[in-house]
Symmetry: C2
Subunit: 211 residues, 2 copies
DNA sequence: CATTGTTTGTGAAAATTTTCACAGACAAAT
DNA sequence: ATTTGTCTGTGAAAATTTTCACAAACAATG
């Protein structure tokens, strides 16, 4: 029911709410959350409608309750494992980013062709050789893979991860992957993103910002 | 006139066409380009309509001509400079990614607080201390900045880049930046992206892939 | 030269996403 | 107890994006 865009914003709201709760704030209005998220208040209310969380008129949303509700909606009941394929600069950045962040969505294994990296533990994550992908993913019941390998190996890496049992892929390689359509693919293409920004940075282009 | 989404796809088409031309292919049909880009042929035709490039019925689009047309549309006439703020793992990955890729959109300077990094040249790009941002950006006429610093310094880094003259920002820090609305901001939020993929990786969620 | 089959360019329809705007709820103030 | 002002939840409108579908173009074929 919830669109991809809505899911993205919900995760953003959760991050904002986690900060909010640290400040000791107990309830929050849609327009406050909206301002912090860079959205409109109507948008926030629509999104929360999607997960069926109800606020109080005048008082807004109960922060703790909303966080809990988001957790129930967004997180898999038993937690989910993530695999990282490619432990280069980008891969290490990804590991650093997620290290110890969310236990219910942790990077449980990393893979690289470089035998120098194999066996080492980076940011609390063990690095395996590429040919162990299927086995380790299956064994650790990993559902999601992050592809951070060069373009030439991306398609193969993705296919192997899927053979291991992965159902969703976060792809950093700037190439569209050709995969079964029941596999969810999210592309992060830094080159494309930079070109877009550069285009809109030009004085002659006028469009408002957003993501 | 062209939407942000269209601009994104146009850059993707260009990348695909650059590969196509290497294969010695002289013309391409909308449906072929669409398949490689993961879009529909109607979408491709609409997008190309946007830049006013016309193909030939039955023969399709002239690859070289289209690349040239995309260049005219997407690239700034005199080229554009990019600054990188933050030379950690992610920053280095960004540098490696763009090193020597497109002369008209090159990373001309990098900045970091770490005095160990200052003065060094990473992937052909000199690293400056943070307090030189305004000066170097102004001097090099840099229009676009990539923010790859921790959350806590992202807002400040962005503001200083803007004071130097930057008009567009590619922000990797997982925090919405609060900036003048004439500044174009593009957020790449790896955490949000991974959570989205994880959500759609769950067996109970069914939605088709795309980006 | 006519026919055939394929492809572009594009109005119009469909689908999706966002915003508007307001009834109903309710805390606070009087 | 009543009024006041603000906030939610949501139907409906607006805006945006994508797809449909077909006339016009035209290379290829006979």
């Amino acid at each position: 029911m919830a669109s991809e865009k809505t899911i993205g914003r919900l995760t953003l709201y959760r991050r904002i709410l986690n900060e909010t709760v640290l400040e000791g704030i107990e309830s929050i209005h849609s327009h406050t959350l909206a301002a912090k998220a860079g959205a409109s208040s109507a948008q926030v209310r629509r999104d929360l409608m999607e997960i069926g969380y109800v606020g109080h008129s005048r008082r807004g949303y109960d922060v703790m309750g909303l966080i809990e509700s988001l957790r129930e909606f967004l997180d898999a009941p038993g937690g989910q494992g993530v695999a990282l394929v490619g432990v280069g600069n980008l891969g290490r950045a990804v590991l650093a980013y997620f290290a110890g962040r969310r236990p219910s969505l942790a990077i449980r294994a990393a893979f690289d062709v470089d035998s120098q990296k194999v066996g080492r533990v980076v940011h609390g994550c063990r690095c395996w050789p590429m040919d162990k992908i299927e086995d380790v993913i299956a064994e650790e019941q990993i559902t999601t893979a992050v592809i951070a390998v060069p373009v030439a190996s991306a398609q193969d890496a993705a296919e192997r991860a899927i053979r291991g049992g992965v159902r969703g892929i976060l792809n950093f390689a700037p190439v569209p992957l050709d995969l079964p359509e029941d596999i969810h693919v999210e592309n992060i293409d830094m080159g494309m993103a930079l070109e877009k920004v550069a285009y809109f940075s030009r004085a002659d282009q006028t469009t408002d910002q957003t993501t």
